[in-house]
Amino acid sequence: MTLVNKPDSNKVKFLIGVFLFLAAVVVLVISVTQSSAEFYMTVDEVLAAPEEVEGANLRISGAVVGDTIYYDQVTGFLTFMIAHIPDDEALVDAKEGELTDILHQAVNDPAASRIEVYYEGPPPDMLKAEAQAILTGQLQPDGTFLARELLLKCPSKYEEALPDQVEVVSP
């Protein structure tokens, strides 16, 4: 059984090739992650230390304040305000009805902190009052948020337990 194997030079070359490829992938992943990873933050967290997060890639989530939505046809910029809502995890845990309440309260709470959002592009179909906006972009020196990506969730679109309008069948 103990045959002395001559190291196969082709095999060594193959393994070096594999190693180099994997090393290249790892380097690529690390460098791209450093330049384009996004940090989850709430509106409160962003406003607590704006100078620290200015220019960094952020992902923030908030409730859309309906009467602030404005689309400028000339510049092609969309602006609106979002109000602070608790962090994403609490929202994921919330039941549908609770989510609607959280968003509703956030928009109607005068004390809730707000950020003005700029986005270059047409208003998405689901952008409306009390939707949850998830934005990717950067905080600008003037305290506004320039969004590169805009994702919207409307709690009402999801399954609702019981209907409001019904025809009651008597026994």
Binding site: E38, R59, Q73, E96, E159, P163, E167, V168
Partner: protein, 672 residues
């Protein structure tokens, strides 16, 4: 009556599945063929029962039975029949029912064709399949029942239950909520079920692999028995993914087709490992090596399938594809954990028996290149996996939640896809020995010359990016190399004075599988040409036009010719504009970008206007307009070059897969 019938069929199918499971185990303990056949019959009965249950659900959906909670959620009076039928998979519990149905269907189809297998294999296959079907049925039955109805009590309180509670009255809504407007698209008929078929199709190879391991076999039986199923599952998965792209392209109106949404990535992952598996199956069958590796690949593929199903249903990730968060998440998680642990334990237990003697010769051969292709595919898979779990992991490690977006994926995976394209071009060349190489040299030179035409054409069309030109050249070269063997074969027959059609068809008759495989590669390369076109050559502009005014993009003139608004019969208010397209004064067609307002949802839905030919798609979105005078409107206009090749390539690829699974003709000598 119909909801109860559907429910009873569902309950019965679960009971039969449990019985079949016991029968399969018993047949293994007693090595009894009779019990094995009983379990086999049970799986067929399960399929029949689930089919009945699905049929009842379809009847409820078509007949507007809004007293059934599921129907109320996903159907409404204004939805056309085809949408009400496809609402079967439009919500959580219905989609689970569809899974069970497809799973039982695939299982039944497999065992109807395979009445017996050597040793205890069949019992093990039945055991695995019945366990999987039983799990999905149990989810439907105990956690998310699609047949529950609304009831209310005299005091005004309301409940949902299948059977009428004592003292309760039925509650019958006059209309349902219906599918979200985004889902009201013909894509809804095909995209989800094809993906499900792809996912579920991998259950057969998985069950065979487990059965092979469990009964202590180390031969290629499981590979041979599952070959067609792996290929078909892969095709379904591919079609499901591409149809999803087409849907996004047609309806979401951002001019794109793929957004690196976590759920999209989760569906891509089993495709990547499934692609790796297809190639390694070839190697194992030729070389009788890689036994362990292939078992690992099928475990990985099926594990990723279940993982994807878990992600969409758990609410762990936020995505447009997710269902609402439900209690199913944790149950799914436990199930994945148990299946994975059991499978891996079995593999470890049998590890030694899968020992392989010998190593490949590490020279520039097809085998080494396929191994390298595997490495690239699995690297892409690892990157995808990292991207999906990054938010969860980063939170544990550094306590801030960090996420990655489309840019991250594109920058990392883009170069890796280029490497794959290179491998596809080189691989067919590698099998040849030196003497053949001399003969083939002029053919290859011909391929090189011909393929240069494409980048030259692109330069003529104002493409200036070196990377784009290189990618286009590589794609063109790879296509030519992939069709080269067939072209040579045809030429040989032609030289032998065969009739023209005979010369074309003879090579196919002799070696359909081989050329099918090549055709799949041609399809994939054509798809990559479409992706290069839209990713690297897309042009866009946003413009406000007065009536009759025009704008120019990429040499094409777009003229705003009018706008109309009207109500449709299915509850929409449609606003549609007309944009005429011209080039050098010649009309090229018209675009009808529209925006629909769904009254019931108070939600708008943007429908792009699209005019396409094989070189270019003209794609326009209506953003804004003057409602009364209609004398001015704002558009976003895209030119998407070559994107049509994405869809054409998918057709070519499907044809290739059908060629590889086509039954071999008897009486013909098969060259391998």
């Amino acid at each position: 009556m119909i909801p109860i019938l559907g429910y009873l069929a569902l309950a019965l199918s679960f009971l039969v599945a449990v019985y079949g499971l016991i029968a399969a185990i018993w047949s293994l303990l007693m090595t009894s063929k009779a019990w094995q056949q009983s379990a086999r019959l049970a799986l067929i009965v399960v399929f029949a029962m689930v089919s009945l249950s699905v049929l009842m659900m379809l009847v409820l959906l078509v007949n507007h039975r809004f007293d059934v909670a599921y129907v109320y959620q996903v159907a409404s009076n204004d939805m056309p029949v085809y949408l009400r039928l496809s609402a079967l998979w439009g919500g959580q519990s219905g989609s689970l029912l569809t899974w069970s149905w497809f799973l039982a269907g695939f299982g039944a189809l497999f065992i109807i064709r395979k009445k017996a297998m050597p040793g205890g294999l069949l019992s093990w296959v039945l055991l695995v399949l019945l366990l999987l079907v039983g799990f999905f049925l149990a989810l439907n039955l105990f956690m998310d029942n699609p047949f529950e109805r609304f009831w209310h009590f005299p005091d005004g309180s309301r409940v949902m239950s299948v059977f009428q509670p004592a003292g309760a009255w039925p509650l019958r809504p006059t209309d349902g909520r219906g599918l979200n407007p985004l889902l009201r698209h013909p894509g809804m008929i095909l995209h989800p079920p094809l993906l499900y078929l792809g996912f579920v199709g991998y259950a057969i190879p998985f069950a065979l692999a487990i059965a092979s391991l469990a009964s202590g076999r180390s031969d290629q039986y499981w590979l041979q028995a599952s070959r067609r199923w792996s290929l078909m599952a892969w095709l379904f998965l591919t079609l499901g993914l591409v149809l999803g792209m087409r849907w996004a392209y047609d309806v979401l109106g951002w001019g794109g087709y793929w957004g690196w949404d976590p759920v999209e990535v989760a569906a891509l992952m089993p495709w990547l490992s499934g692609t790796a598996l297809l190639h390694m199956i070839l190697l194992q069958r030729q070389q009788d090596r890689y036994k362990r590796w292939n078992i690992i690949l099928i475990f990985l593929t099926f594990g990723l399938v279940i993982f994807g199903a878990f992600l969409t249903r758990s609410g762990v990730l936020s995505s447009v594809h997710s269902f609402a968060r439900s209690a199913i998440g944790p149950v799914f998680f436990v199930f994945i954990a148990l299946v994975s642990i059991a499978s891996l334990a079995l593999l470890v237990y049998r590890w030694q028996s899968l020992h392989v003697v010998g190593e490949p010769a590490f020279k520039l051969s097809k085998e080494v290149l396929i191994l390298f292709t595997n490495l690239v595919l699995l690297s892409i898979l690892a990157v995808c996996f990292l991207g999906v779990i990054y938010p969860l992991v980063s939170e544990l490690l550094v306590s801030t939640k960090v996420t990655v977006g489309p840019v991250w994926y594109e920058r990392i995976i883009g170069p890796l896809l280029l490497v794959l394209l290179l491998l596809m071009g080189v691989c067919p060349l590698a099998g040849w020995v030196h003497s053949q190489w001399m003969v083939l040299r002029r053919w290859i030179i011909l391929c090189l010359m011909l393929s240069l035409l494409i980048p030259l054409l692109a330069i003529f069309r104002q493409v200036r990016s070196i990377l784009t030109l290189f990618a286009l050249w590589l794609a063109a070269f790879s296509v030519l190399v992939a069709v080269l063997p067939y072209a040579r074969s045809v030429r040989n027959r032609w030289k032998q004075k065969a009739h023209f059609f005979k010369a074309l068809l003879d090579p196919l008759r002799r070696n359909l599988r081989l050329y099918g495989g090549h055709l799949v590669h041609v399809g994939v390369i054509l798809i990559s040409i479409g992706i290069i076109g839209i990713e690297r050559m897309q042009e866009q502009t946003q413009v406000t036009l007065a009536l009759g005014e025009s704008t120019t993009l990429g040499g094409y003139v777009f003229i705003y010719e009018g706008l109309e608004s009207y109500d449709s019969s299915d509850g929409r208010h449609i606003t549609q504009a007309v944009l005429a397209v011209q080039k050098d004064g010649k009309p090229m067609g018209a675009l009808f970008p529209a925006r629909d307002l769904y009254y019931a949802w108070q939600q708008t839905n943007t429908r792009p206007g699209l005019e396409s030919n094989i070189w270019m798609d003209f794609y326009a979105i209506l953003i804004d307009w003057r409602p009364v005078t209609k004398d001015q409107a704002t558009f976003k206009i895209f030119l998407n070059p070559l994107v049509n090749w994405l869809w054409i390539g998918t057709g070519v690829l499907s044809l290739g897969v059908f060629m590889t699974v086509w039954p071999r003709q008897k009486g013909l000598k098969v060259k391998t």
